[in-house]
Amino acid sequence: MQEPVTVDRETANRELLDFVFAWPKWFFATTGLLGAVITLGLIIFLLLMIFGLQLFGYAHPVYWGFPVVNFVFWIGVSHAGIMVSAILRLAQAEWRRPVTRAAEVLTIFSLMTAMTFPIIHSGRPWRTLYWEFPYDWMRGIWPNPRSPLVWDPAAIFTYLTSTVMFVYIALLPDLALARDRVKNPIGKAVYGVLSLGFRGTTRQWRIQAIAGILLSALILPIFVSVHSIVSWDFAVTIIPGWHNTVFAPYFVIGAVHSGVSAVVTVMIIMRYAFGLKNFITKDHIDSLARLLIIVATVWLFFFMLDFMFGLYGTEPAEVDTWQRRLMEPPWTAIAIIFIITGYIIPVGAWLFRRVRRNFFLMFVTTILVNIGMWLERYMIVIPGLERKSNLTFQYGDYLPSAAEFGIIAAQLALVIAGFLVFSKLLPIMPAADIKEGQILRDEIKVGRARVPATMREA
């Protein structure tokens, strides 16, 4: 790192835990606002239960609309945590340290939010339960275990469980720190229980480190499988525009692009909101932006593969779908916005060091990425379903309703609120990890220059 953290250990402890113990005014205002938006979402959900799916803009043959698009989008964002945390940890990237916790927490709340969409998508969820429980074995109809729709919940729940474990293992030393610093006896008791008696003995540190590394390695296959299975929800069908073998890695890398961008956005907000200027520096944002350039370019390669091999077979239905996606209004406009915001503007800007080290520009470009990536999911899901009917030669039509937009806003608010509440209760910056990074930091003198260096086990 070119801009090492210069605060001493005591100041670091204080600043990193400051937000847990303080009650700034903006916290109440923001939470109130978020609560209002979430309430709006709940009202829409209530109306949905009364009026059913007619509240949404579904029209034959499009019955997968915003809820499915949002489901894919939030599952995508959830890929941030493991990409940043596990992969960079295994790669021994030192700059990862302040970024990891926020990324992992974002993973948890975006996963939880994503899991609500299948419920919303079913319209009147109790009917699903009514038909499922108790299961009528006499009908001789069995759930199809070969369907990715069955694999989905298994993968997502496994991912959520392992991510929670991953966060919790990393949290232990910070919980112990909070336990030692909190003055409120109730808080002390709660943190005391949560920290599992962590005292910082050599053995405890060793076990905590080994558990972290093992979980990092074990969580990677789950990380890859989650979005692959989501992609197979679409790709195993023979719907034009969906049936492409490239979907699994294309979805995974798109998820990483979207997720890491979301992490940058969150980091920049945290820097100002939580007063973490000493810990989230230009170097961190710069490194994440460099990583994003590579991820985005790989993602573009997979997008091109999807596009080219969609047209490659010159099958009329497939060509027709791509023509609709790219050449017909309003899809042309959506496609242009998607590619400009998802790749051209951000990556073009990130090529310049000055942009990579500018918090405002990084904030804007990473938000643009997620706008683009949301539109990408929309472009994947809807045009394939709007395909021309074989009998009437007419396209289906789908126009999202206000209720669907309301649900989007509420879900976004839910993720932000979850993140905020977590930050209020538990340390959002990995204090122990950051301090370890400070200990391992060194310098090497080459001529008159001093080069930042890191200590590693020989």
Binding site: V236, F247, P249, F309, E443, M455
Partner: protein, 452 residues
């Protein structure tokens, strides 16, 4: 924990390392053996030219050509990755892998008759599937060869640029050179500006080489693979090919490093298990990627049950070429995965080299099942295979051709290895400056400098 070896304290270079070309023990025997194999390759290439235009005759040459693309041509990318990630383990290996850019040039020659044997995209009003969408700009022959040439030139430039500071010698020597030679040596006197330009250009050329490599892989695997086998339509296949190429490149590098350590002590002293530990990690990761990419491809075809796709998969996976497929699966996935899980295998160069040989054998059979099936298919203009084809077996010339190509690659590589200083002197010295060994409390630690 990776202990530096007794002799091979990879980068703690005392006295300062001076770049020189390598000396190979039993040089004469090696030269004769490799020379004979290379001569065999040249003769077989000439013999094969009599079958110009007969696509099936070029099926096995196509497989070995794509094997070369997947190993030799992909190898220099490891130098790029190591520089990008500032990986210290890669310092002694960078020059070793960059030199593969020269034998890669063989690709151009090998591809001439192979691309020349491809049928036109349109015949009797029927078009076969292709990535050029009816573009008449000389595709696939001219377009593919143009892309390959650009890629090879980028690889050559990368190799040369990285070697210039070691080859040029003192400024007085460069100044005394004739103008053309001075240009060739980039007028290298080692000024600060020259270093900045050199590093920047190496970075850009490497990135360009990577992109060209991916592009070339995409068009070659389609033109020589998918577009010739009716019903084969897989968007993931170019990506699968790239990933398995990286796997092949790593395996090739491991074997090369092992041989250099064994037979070229001047290089071998810098090559230790530190390199094995890092390359082993990459190899196991890429082994898992093999499964992921293969499965993502297979599952969709299996699930969708489209007759044309199923027939294509039955051809190159499940029925016609099932034996090469099984060898590939064992070589590229099962054996390396089961063995590389264990640290003692992954972190020891000699053991890793054995696994790498298995990987390369698997890769060769993978290319055979994929490209022999396509090159020997009877009617690339139909929309699907009406019935599954019989396997196309190699004849003696095919086998000798493949052995000869390996010989030619080895001969060119050995030649360049004895011409350009290996390992790269300037990077080794720089690495030594940025690396320090010290005690921290009770532990031995490395301090690694990471300049921006």
């Amino acid at each position: 924990m990776i202990k530096p070896e007794a002799v091979g304290l990879s980068l703690t270079l005392r006295p300062p390392y001076r770049p020189s070309t390598i000396a190979i023990s039993r040089k004469g025997t090696v030269a004769v053996a490799v020379g004979l194999l290379a001569a065999l390759g040249v003769v077989m290439y000439a013999v094969k030219l009599f079958s110009w235009g007969d696509r099936a005759e070029w099926a096995y040459p196509a497989a070995i050509t794509l094997f070369v693309l997947s190993t030799v041509t992909a190898a220099p990318l490891v130098a790029f990755a190591s520089r990008m990630a500032r990986g210290y383990w890669g310092l002694p290996a960078r020059r070793v892998v960059e030199l593969f850019a020269l034998p890669s040039m063989l690709l151009f020659v090998l591809l001439i008759p192979i691309l020349g044997s491809l049928p036109p995209f349109e015949q009797d009003g029927v078009t076969r599937a292709n990535l050029w969408f009816g573009w008449g700009g000389g595709a696939p022959f001219l377009t593919d060869q143009l892309a390959v040439s650009v890629m090879l030139l980028a690889g050559g430039a990368l190799m040369w640029f990285a070697a210039v500071p070691d080859l040029a010698g003192p400024p007085s020597r460069v100044r005394a050179m004739p103008a053309w030679k001075r240009l060739l040596f980039l007028n290298w006197t080692g000024t600060k500006r020259q270093w900045v330009v050199l590093r920047t250009s190496m970075r850009w050329i490497s990135a360009f080489y990577l992109m060209m490599y991916v592009f070339v892989t995409m068009i070659l695997t389609t033109d020589l693979g998918q577009s010739l086998l009716p019903g084969w339509r897989s968007g993931i296949f170019p990506a699968y090919h790239v990933i398995t190429s990286f796997q092949g490149a790593i395996a090739l590098i491991v074997i090369t490093l092992f041989l250099l350590r064994r037979y070229a002590p001047s290089v071998g002293q810098f090559i230790g298990d530190e390199q094995a530990a890092s390359l082993g990690k990459f190899l196991i990761a890429l082994t898992l990627f093999w499964f992921y990419f293969f499965w993502s491809d297979f599952l969709l075809v299996w699930y969708a049950r489209l007759p044309s796709e199923v027939a294509a998969v039955q051809t190159n996976v499940a029925v016609t070429y099932i034996v090469p497929f099984l060898i590939a699966m064992f070589g590229q996935f099962l054996i390396p995965f089961v063995t590389l899980i264990f640290n003692p295998i992954r972190r020891k160069l000699s053991r890793l080299a054995v696994v790498s040989v298995v990987v390369l054998i698997g890769l060769l059979f993978d290319r055979i099942r994929l490209f022999v099936a396509s090159m020997s298919s009877e009617n690339p203009f139909s929309h699907g295979l009406a019935e599954l084809p019989e396997p196309y077996y190699p004849n003696a010339i095919d086998i000798l051709f493949m052995i000869g190509v390996v010989g030619m690659v080895a001969a060119i590589y050995l030649w360049v290895l004895t011409r350009i200083p290996t390992p790269g002197g300037w990077e080794m010295r720089e690495g030594a400056m940025y690396r320090r060994e010290q005690k921290y409390m009770h532990a031995e630690v490395l301090v690694l400098g990471k300049p921006d």
